[in-house]
């Protein structure tokens, strides 16, 4: 497969950074980890293209690399080498479809109650546990759980619809 890097990193970069932030050890940073994982994916895709028949294969490789690199961070300093080749051109259509989904999902996020929006942020960007949020906010875990489930159901409904439209 040929990677549309801009789309790929725009789509999976935020999740990768969130994962890295919750696991990374100083002096490494989440950004270092994500960039290193992207470099690793780029090299692997060039040297073993047969491993990456679909974007999903690349996604899985990338997220695993982020997790592993973040977990191992702090044990060694420095970043691996720079890209030997420029990544391939981006896929404009895929980028636009991604941006449309992002707009729709973000619009749906802002229609949630402030409490639900904050919960989603803390769970899926800050990667806090429900127990941690309950302790910090004083809101019962069961309430948070119900709130999260309802918010995700609404967000998933919007996302599904846009995915079908883009299909």
């Amino acid at each position: 497969m040929s990677f549309a890097w801009e789309v790929f990193l725009a789509r999976y970069g935020p999740m990768a950074r969130a994962i890295a932030r919750s696991l990374v050890h100083p002096p490494a940073t989440a950004e270092d980890v994500v960039q290193e994982a992207a470099l690793a994916l780029h090299r692997a895709a060039r040297s073993e293209p047969q491993r990456f028949a679909t974007v999903e294969h690349a996604r899985n490789y990338f997220l695993r690399a982020v997790r592993n690199l973040a977990a191992r961070s702090g044990r060694r300093a420095g970043r691996e080498g720079e890209l030997a080749h420029e990544p391939e051109a981006r896929d404009e259509l895929a980028l636009r479809a991604f941006e449309r989904r992002q707009d729709a999902l973000a619009a749906a996020l802002t229609t949630l109650t402030p409490e639900a929006r904050e919960l989603v942020r803390r769970r899926f960007l800050a990667h806090e546990t429900l127990a941690e949020i309950a302790r910090a906010s004083g809101v019962p875990v069961s309430t948070l759980h119900d709130r999260e489930r309802a918010a995700l159901a609404e967000l998933r409904r919007v996302w599904d619809r846009h995915l079908e439209n883009d299909a």
């Binding site: 950074r17 999903e56 996020l109 967000l155």
Partner: protein, 226 residues
């Protein structure tokens, strides 16, 4: 306590990745969560350190608190309007957009100049924003984005007729997202001004057009019908 409540998301990553390799539903769930993280991050407007080159100019200070789409703010406005205690004027205006549309950021030819003109806007200094945007528009009369924000500023200053006039001008521009956004906000102004038929007609057109504002317009029509 349920042990699940002490699990953070990365703990479940390996399991989800493993399932995603053989189960399309799990793969789809992973993509949903990735898109969700990306959307939340955009709303958070974190400094985009790893943004691709095309969007790197967004990292300028004036846009850091504003790095998302006007769509988001519109939805915020709609959310605000749903509050029972929202006074009538706010029902129309909601929260002013503090974001520059992501689809508009590609044109960097006037970026610096527009950035300067929008700087008071990002501070919520409406009189200064009106002056700066008017000055910008005196040099670039057809700049729809600047006129859109001038319309918002006029609304914030309570100059609803002026706001409506600017929205109407933007609604006729050839940038679909911006034009639809202007139609939507004009319709909400019309609702407050008692021009219900015009508002409903505009909202119905947005719904039938199926664009990014269709769902918001549908919700607004439901509100009106209540």
């Amino acid at each position: 306590m349920n042990p699940a409540h002490d699990r953070r998301w990365p703990d479940e990553l390996e399991s989800l990745l493993a399932r995603a390799e053989s189960d399309p539903a799990a793969s789809r769930e992973l993509d949903f969560l990735a898109d969700l993280a990306a959307s939340v991050e955009r709303l958070e407007a974190r400094p985009p350190a790893a943004l691709p080159e095309r969007t790197r100019w967004l990292a300028r200070a004036w846009l850091l608190p504003a790095a998302a789409s006007v769509l988001f703010a519109l939805a915020l406005g709609l959310w605000f309007a749903r509050r029972d205690d929202a006074p009538p004027a706010q029902l129309a205006l909601g929260t002013p957009p503090v974001f520059v549309a992501s689809t508009l950021r590609g044109d960097g030819t006037l970026a610096d100049e527009l950035a300067r003109a929008l700087e008071p806007y990002t501070r919520g200094d409406w009189p200064a924003a009106r002056a700066a945007l008017a000055e910008f528009l005196a040099r670039h009369e057809g700049h729809a984005t600047a006129r859109f924000y001038l319309a918002v500023v006029a609304g914030e200053l309570g100059e609803l007729d002026s706001a409506r006039e600017h929205y109407s001008a933007v609604a006729a521009c050839d940038e679909p997202l911006l034009a639809d956004h202007a139609r939507y906000r004009r319709a909400r102004l019309d609702l407050v001004a008692g021009r219900r038929a015009e508002a409903e007609s505009a909202l119905a057109e947005l719904v039938s057009g199926g664009g990014p504002f269709a769902e918001l317009a549908r919700d607004a029509l439901r509100e009106v019908a209540r």
